[in-house]
Symmetry: C2
Subunit: 159 residues, 2 copies
DNA sequence: TTAATTCGGACTAAATCAGTGCTATATTAG
DNA sequence: CTAATATAGCACTGATTTAGTCCGAATTAA
């Protein structure tokens, strides 16, 4: 399916939640976010931990503790959130920049070309920030790999 | 890892092979391709079958049979090859255009936004064709989601 | 001190996927 | 017509990955 794992999916939900309702030093607890997102508490807890160690969140322990975004939504590219759960984004295995893993290696005709795919995808995900996800309408002039505009709102309405 | 399954990966290898060495009505057998790619024959056979039913290849049975590309490499976008093995490309589950699967649904704050991610990725993969993979240097002016050029050959050398 | 909350690890059950094998069908060569 | 070759389609298995849960320790505010 070329899809994200559920954890990464949920991670995006949580990050969007936090970006929307953020105040100055507004700490959100795991329980709090669990209630808001309807995701099971243990899972939310796990997600937050992961986001923490990836440097996307900052935590405060003890009573009245919680999590806050480490940076402004504008400064958090979507690819970082995804990478927090799925590791470095690389559609094709040959292109994880690790040499020697590929058993075809020497004769592999597309090692070069797989980089093209990876780089294109990475670039796109890198240019979309968490802020873009909160306010999609302000996302200006998204263009595709050849420079043509991408119709984000096909029929004038976002579904 | 946000990566393709191995089958899709191998599928790209096979398609690239066929695109490179194609002649007029040049049939390639599974055995042939297996030898060239060093992939096990049963697997190659399975891959070819899949590519066939997806409409990317045309087959001829019997002695002197084999497979040919159904279209010119220029007319085969990478996303189709990937979709042949992984189904429709959709990074996030909410966005498979199926309504009602998401258990958060009503309160899901990012349904809209996930479309942005999916659409951007799909668009990029849709603009890269099999032909681009054979001759990467002729791929002109790949640009990212905001219109900035993507450096395909970072240090002047393709590794 | 007590209650609330994060922190870190380990563990289990389930789903997905790669890979293989076998039998039937079609086509060409001789 | 017959035999050899190659695809067609199906089912099966073993392994890998992943989601999800739980528990005890550390930390902080009241």
């Amino acid at each position: 399916m070329v899809k994200l794992g559920k954890l990464a999916d949920y991670g995006l939900v949580l990050m969007t939640c936090m970006a929307k309702d953020q105040g100055p030093a507004f700490l959100r607890t795991a329980r709090d976010l669990s209630a808001e997102t309807k995701l099971p508490l243990p899972t939310v807890s796990k997600l937050l931990k992961q986001l923490l160690t990836s440097g996307l969140l900052v935590s405060h322990r003890g009573t009245k503790g919680g999590y806050v975004l480490a940076r402004a939504p504008r400064e958090i590219p979507v690819i970082e959130i995804i990478a927090a759960f799925e590791g470095p984004v690389a559609l094709t295995e040959c292109s994880t920049d690790v040499i020697g893993l590929c058993n075809i290696e020497s004769c592999c005709p597309i090692k070069t070309n797989q980089r093209i795919i990876n780089q294109a995808v990475r670039q796109v995900l890198g240019t979309i920030s968490l802020y873009d996800l909160i306010s999609p309408l302000q996302l200006t002039a998204i263009k595709d790999a050849r420079g043509n505009p991408v119709p984000l709102v096909p029929s004038g309405r976002i579904q």
